[in-house]
């Protein structure tokens, strides 16, 4: 029987150790005008077109490397920007048949690989999401994109630079849907072997930034697209490096040590230190609100408008602002009063405990004879701000007016699952409310999806089973108003009813804090989920 010589064994072990140390690669150099951004995501958003990692993916990869037919105006900080022409120079609905939309494409645009952007490319990109039997169909992009374009029934090229879309029903919000879909290069997909995994390694869009290097889970390096079709958005920087850094303290340390120049969502308790070290803290209200979504199923205490209003009057929003280091705006409705959609609701969402107590007394409850409600909350989660402390404050506030809150704490993903399934589903565990922060960038996401009686689960995400024919009529009016002023008025009427009937517990609007080095200049924080980094410079 052969025996091992111990010296041989130890020498082998040492050699193995040495080999693992000597796995060499090359180093990258960093020049001037490089902006390094630490994202909250745990991975690099996929540079495939219809990217993942939520709004952050769209913000940093989606709308930088790719374009959609319709873009968002991100040039102003003082007011929410609307939709503006992107790869389409104009679009119009057929007055005779409001399901037909004609999009005129921008001439002379090329993808990063040099191929031309045209109507065929638009059809190809919609096929990649909607047509499961098309060669370029990508389940991952379909998963991200299909939810966004529920109205798209069909599409065809009228000529090489004109595309016609047909919607299921007349829908004046159709342009908002189209703005979600980003254009990848069909020629590049062909060139890399008709494979999306290969495409990701050398992606090609029409956006102001081109992908230079992609290291999964570690970094994505972007360089300017010098021939971008919009001269105003041609990047001023030499390079942008995107780094995933999910841990807030790690992001803060990376900024303070000079490893990155910009961090998303700094740790709230580090804001003072960041300011003291000369860092810029930027924030601005944007369409992201933090609410309690009330269940309206039979037996829910929130079916009583007096209790809904009382709860809205009990929340100490000023105290919450202090709690969050100033990084929230007290909610007055589903959208902030600065939004053109706010309207003129008659119910003023504010803190008025005596009025709340009166309403509770009318409903038959008091602190001595409390009402018990069950609320789903999460300890953390994407966009959830600081859910535990915020909910504890609400629990205390509501307790003071005779509403005893019992929490049903769920992991964020479990909360999302139960939210999709609806208040009646066992996964919602009989809760009377759920606390999911909401993207509210367009009328559909801000209002319709929560309030439309036709969007009950599982077909839609009206979690609370709220059904009101009057609200349905107001929402239908939004969809059928093709005139901009008329549509705005319809949105305002729906939002006014939303507030007047206290359909949610309106608590906070997020203000998207970011921290950046004093060397970063030229950033305008738009009132939007997406931001433009093209005008930014690093001095």
């Amino acid at each position: 029987m052969r025996s091992f010589d111990r010296r041989q064994v130890l020498a082998g072990g040492l050699a193995a150790t040495t080999v693992s140390f000597l796995d060499l690669s090359q180093v990258s150099a960093q020049g001037s005008g490089v902006l390094r951004i630490a994202m909250t995501a745990s991975d690099i958003p996929l540079p495939n077109g219809q990217t993942d990692q939520g709004a952050e993916g769209m913000r940093f990869v989606g709308f930088n490397v790719f374009d959609s037919l319709i873009l968002w105006d991100l040039t102003r900080a003082d007011t929410p920007g609307g939709l503006i022409p992107g790869l389409a120079t104009s679009w119009r609905v057929d007055p005779a048949d409001p399901t037909r939309w004609t999009f005129v494409l921008r001439p002379g645009v090329t993808f990063h690989d040099g191929s031309a952007f045209d109507a065929a490319a638009v059809l190809w990109n919609f096929d990649k999401i909607l047509k499961a039997d098309s060669p370029q169909h990508d389940p991952r992009q379909a998963g991200q994109g299909r939810t966004r374009i529920p109205s798209v029934k069909s599409y065809r090229a009228l000529d090489p630079m004109t595309v016609e879309f047909v919607s299921n029903t007349p829908n004046a919000l159709f342009p908002y849907e189209i703005s979600w879909i980003l254009m990848s290069s069909p020629a590049q997909w062909e060139k890399v072997g008709r494979n999306w995994d290969s495409f990701i390694r050398s992606p090609s869009g029409t956006g102001p930034w081109k992908v230079d290097r992609y290291t999964p889970r570690e970094r994505l390096e972007l360089v300017p697209n010098a021939s971008y079709w919009n001269p105003a958005r041609r990047p001023k920087l030499d390079r942008v490096v995107l780094v995933p850094m999910p841990e807030p303290n790690a992001r803060t340390a990376a900024l303070l040590s000079g490893q990155v120049d910009w961090i998303e969502a700094p740790a709230t308790d580090a804001l003072q230190q960041l300011r003291a070290r000369g860092m810029q803290i930027t924030s601005n209200v944007y369409p992201h609100n933090w609410t309690w979504h009330f269940s309206r199923v039979e037996g829910s205490p929130w079916n009583d408008i007096r209790i809904r209003k009382a709860a809205n009057l009990a929340v100490d929003r000023a105290g919450m602002v202090e709690l969050l280091g100033g990084m929230m705006l007290p909610a007055k409705g589903m959208v902030p009063p600065s939004s053109p959609w706010f309207g003129k609701p008659s119910f003023d969402v504010k803190t008025d405990v005596p009025a709340a107590l009166r309403l509770m007394a009318e409903a038959g409850y008091s602190p001595a004879r409390p009402l018990t409600v069950k609320a789903i909350i999460s300890p953390s989660g994407s966009g959830q701000m600081q859910p535990l402390v915020m909910n504890e404050l609400i629990q205390q506030n509501l307790g003071e007016i005779g509403i005893k809150v019992e929490f049903e704490v769920m992991d964020w993903n479990a909360l999302v699952s139960s939210w999709r399934a609806g208040a009646k589903h066992p996964s919602s565990r009989g809760a009377h409310s759920t606390n999911s922060s909401y993207f509210s960038q367009d009328p559909f996401t801000a209002l319709i999806r929560h309030l439309d009686g036709g969007l009950l689960p599982p077909a839609g995400t009206n979690w609370g089973y709220y059904i009101d024919p009057d609200m349905d009529a107001r929402l239908a009016r939004i969809r059928s108003s093709f005139d901009a002023a008329e549509q705005l008025a319809a949105i305002q009427r729906a939002h006014e009813k939303f507030v007047d009937e206290a359909l949610f517990l309106f608590v906070a609007h997020d203000v998207a804090p970011r921290a950046m080095s004093p060397r970063v200049r030229g950033f305008i924080q738009a009132q939007n989920w997406y931001q433009d980094i093209s005008p930014v410079t690093v001095g």
Binding site: M1, R2, S3, F4, D5, R6, V9, L10, G13, T17, S20, F21, D23, L24, S25, Q26, V27, S42, D43, L46, D52, G54, P139, R140, G143, Q144, R146, T147, D197, I200, T215, P216, R217, E218, R219, V243, P244, M245, P246, E247, N249, A250, A253, A254, S257, Q259, D411, N413, A414, V416, S417, R420, A421, G422, R449, P457, P458, A459, G460, T461
Partner: protein
């Protein structure tokens, strides 16, 4: 030795099966759905169910498990739901980074652990013993993620000497053994080394104290052997146990530390697991856990073989 090796290899089979069942079961018991990374949060339940069918998550658990095992046996750990990348390539890229970090942490941990352990054991009840013991207790007791944050605050934020995150200026793909990269390794490696340092130091201290109390030590002294010579004998006697502890600790470190790798954004298996957990990326989670478990089993096997090779008593038994 070969028979012993064969037996040990056979023993690993039930362990691997057990690990597969447990890791598959655990990730499916966890709440939430596995398509969180490929569907926006506001996707409807209807669309979610369609996607569940498309990915095969609507099949019975036993069917999913058997399919996964069958593919894993052929070396196919599947494809990440979130990224579409092969799980095997994702895991092995991360393992490479964790290996680098854990070997450096092991080296630091064992160097100081052995030093403190031998010194404390040899000079037991002396002030040196007390200092070494305090250091080892601190090593075992201090939460390492907390220590990581403290080190970052001191050496990165305040002194600006070392980078707080990442594997290098260009990421791990560009890793080279130069100062620009090694400086990224220092803080996570020190943080990771404190627990093995404490455990090794405490184990070795007790072992050395025990060896020194055995009859052969006074006999060696009576024969006139120098203290250095006696120390050499103590080291030889303590080596197999030290090696066993080292092997176990190295196994733990190779598993990657979710907390440390997340705090330092180190692109290893812990960081990968963290991402897989938060994205509910079941194939990635299952694949990573399986590979790490196999690593642990393999490492135990290697340690047993080395122990047998260096300790004649084990060979004889």
């Amino acid at each position: 030795m070969l028979v012993y090796l064969g037996k040990r290899l056979v023993y690993t089979i039930p362990i691997v099966i057990g690990v597969s069942v447990v890791c598959f079961g655990l990730v499916h018991i966890a709440p939430g759905d596995p398509l969180v990374s490929v569907l926006p949060p506001d996707a409807s339940e209807e669309l979610k169910m369609q996607m569940m069918r498309a990915y095969g998550f609507d099949r019975p658990y036993y069917e999913q498990f058997l399919l996964w095992c069958w593919r894993a046996l052929q070396g196919d750990l599947g494809v990440s739901i979130a990224t579409g990348r092969s799980v095997a390539s994702e895991v092995f890229r991360a393992v490479k980074n964790t290996l680098l970090l854990s070997f450096v942490a092991t080296f630091i941990g064992f160097f100081f652990g052995l030093l403190f352990g031998f010194v404390a054991g040899y000079f037991r009840n002396s002030p040196i013993d007390k200092i070494a013991s305090i250091l080892s207790v601190i090593g075992v007791s201090v939460p390492h993620y907390w220590l990581g944050m403290v080190l970052v605050i001191i050496f990165s934020v305040q002194l600006n000497w070392l980078p707080p995150t990442g594997a290098g200026p260009g990421g791990s793909a560009d890793w080279q053994p130069d100062w620009a990269h090694l400086r990224h390794l220092i803080l996570p490696a020190i943080t990771m080394s404190v627990i093995p340092m404490g455990i090794v130091a405490r184990t070795i201290r007790a072992l050395v104290a025990d060896i020194l109390s055995q009859d052969f030590v006074p006999a060696l002294r009576a024969k006139g052997l120098s203290e250095l010579g006696i120390f050499g004998h103590v080291v030889k006697n303590a080596a197999p146990t030290a090696l066993a502890v080292m092997g176990l600790q190295l196994g733990y470190l190779l598993g990657g530390s979710i907390l440390i790798e997340t705090v330092f954004s180190w692109p290893g298996t812990g960081f990968l697991l963290n991402a897989a957990i938060f994205q509910r990326d079941l194939p990635l989670l299952q694949g990573t856990i399986l590979v790490l478990a196999l690593f642990f089993v393999l490492l135990n096997l290697i340690v047993d073989v080395i122990q047998t090779a260096i300790d004649p008593r084990i060979q004889r038994s």
